[in-house]
């Protein structure tokens, strides 16, 4: 029997996975700081005994779209967005350093600074802890200054500085939790970059382009139909073959 059936099948299966990536992008069209994933198909020739016989399709996500999302004004002192390139360093769920652009910060019961997805924000070296305050200001370069509780405006104190980094994008990848990390494990911490700029009172939205995702989704659906058509053609061919053999 012709193996075209199997090739068409892998095409359809890989196609479905590509569709999942696009579906995930669309599901996160409103997620703060979300970065869309790309999907691409690659041909994987299979070398048989004599010559390359079949080329299977293989879906992969070669990269993440690092374009900035739109900035949404919230007016909240604890919402920060990164203007241009750069990342906020946080402690991931597994205790290692991770990077994110989710800037809806909040304060824990003991003064720890958390991002919206409950990760501790790193300062100069250690996670940031903020003493009790009347007023807080997060500066352009991540400097946090507060007016301590019950003190006058002349008592402004600089507390810590949010660790802002800007490693080359080709060294970064998304981890299982949607946070970003260095591709090379154990490459050491990324040094803070003084050029990364924050804007307070804004949040970075998702960078998913709904129209683009919809178009990809439609084109993938049509491709899928072509694969299924191929499967049914291969089936018809096999049937015709069987008929001929019956006559014989």
């Amino acid at each position: 029997m012709d193996k075209a059936l199997y090739i068409a099948m892998t095409g359809a299966v890989q196609n479905m996975q590509a569709q999942s990536i696009r579906a995930n992008n669309l599901a996160n069209v409103n997620t703060t700081g979300f970065k869309a994933d790309f999907e691409q198909a690659r041909s994987m020739p299979v070398f048989g005994e004599f010559y390359p016989s079949r080329a299977y399709a293989l879906t992969e996500n070669p990269a993440t779209n690092y374009n900035p999302g739109w900035l949404q004004e919230t007016g909240n002192d604890f919402d920060v967005a990164i203007k241009g390139d750069g990342w906020i360093a946080v402690i991931g769920p597994d205790g290692t350093e991770r990077y994110t652009r989710v800037g809806n910060l909040s304060i824990g019961p003991n003064g720890q600074l958390y991002t919206g997805n409950n990760l501790q924000v790193l300062g100069d070296g250690a996670p940031i802890v903020i003493p009790e305050f009347d007023k807080i200001e997060i500066g352009l370069d991540g400097t946090i200054s507060i007016r301590p509780r019950g003190q006058g405006p002349q008592e402004l104190a600089q507390i810590d500085r949010i660790r802002l980094v800007n490693p080359p994008l080709e060294q970064l990848e998304k981890d299982e939790n949607g946070l970003f990390k260095l591709k090379e494990e154990g490459a050491g911490a990324v040094l803070p970059d003084a050029n990364v700029r924050l804007v307070a009172g804004f949040l970075e939205g998702s960078n998913v382009s709904a129209v683009e995702e919809m178009i990809h989704l439609l084109s993938l659906a049509r491709q899928y139909e072509v694969h299924v058509k191929m499967m049914s053609r291969a089936d018809e061919n096999a049937e015709a073959m069987a008929r001929i053999l019956q006559i014989g």
Partner: protein, 261 residues
Amino acid sequence: MHPSLWISKTGMHAQDKQLSVVANNLANVATVGFKRDRAEFEDLFYQIQRQPGAQSTQDNQIPSGLQIGTGVRVVSTQKVFSTTGFQTTEQPLDVAINGRGFFQILLPDGTIAYSRNGQFHLNSDGDVVNGNGLPLEPGITVPRDATNFTVGEDGTVTIQTPGNVQPQQLGQITLVDFVNPGGLQAVGSNLFLATGASGDPVEGTPGQDGLGFLKQYTLESSNVSVVEEMVNMITTQRAYEMNSKVIATADQMLQFVNQNV
């Protein structure tokens, strides 16, 4: 089955929740002292189908793997404690907090709840109570013959009684503050309860220790911005529609397989 079905389901589910949050905010657009909620979205974990950087042969590495995200969820709702405005009234028992701080309200079970709603009333005993009849803590009882009720900026309550030239001090309204007001648990009726996330209440005199001054004849408006909520509603609806479109597409693909194979 088609994974996109489930991924888009999470998308629709999250938008659904977001709409509930928006609806609740809009419903409370005129509620005194209401603080709006904000839903926070988070992408779910990623399934690694092929590990990026794994060896394809002894000498070669797979250049990029296949990680498929599994959708989105609303990870938390955050109360936004910004203040937008005050409205002046002609009721002496309307008190607003200009700054940080909460009134303390004594619940029937003896515990204390916290509120920004300063729309107080008198009950038949002359106690200062909130709209639901729950007394302010520390309690203040106004005598029947009081002619004038004054709340000072620092929370001092004084009254005037007939035949007395000197005003008489009745009591003192105190306020409490929390390290993390966003961690308070909203229980409805404009009340909040302290939680492990909010930290313990710190009591103080209005105007001191970072607590706001009190303003009599004033009410704090709801901080819901109608325009912002309407825009949120539109983006939520569109995102919902697009996720349902993905479900329809995935469904059509499965249908196509069923019909053609």
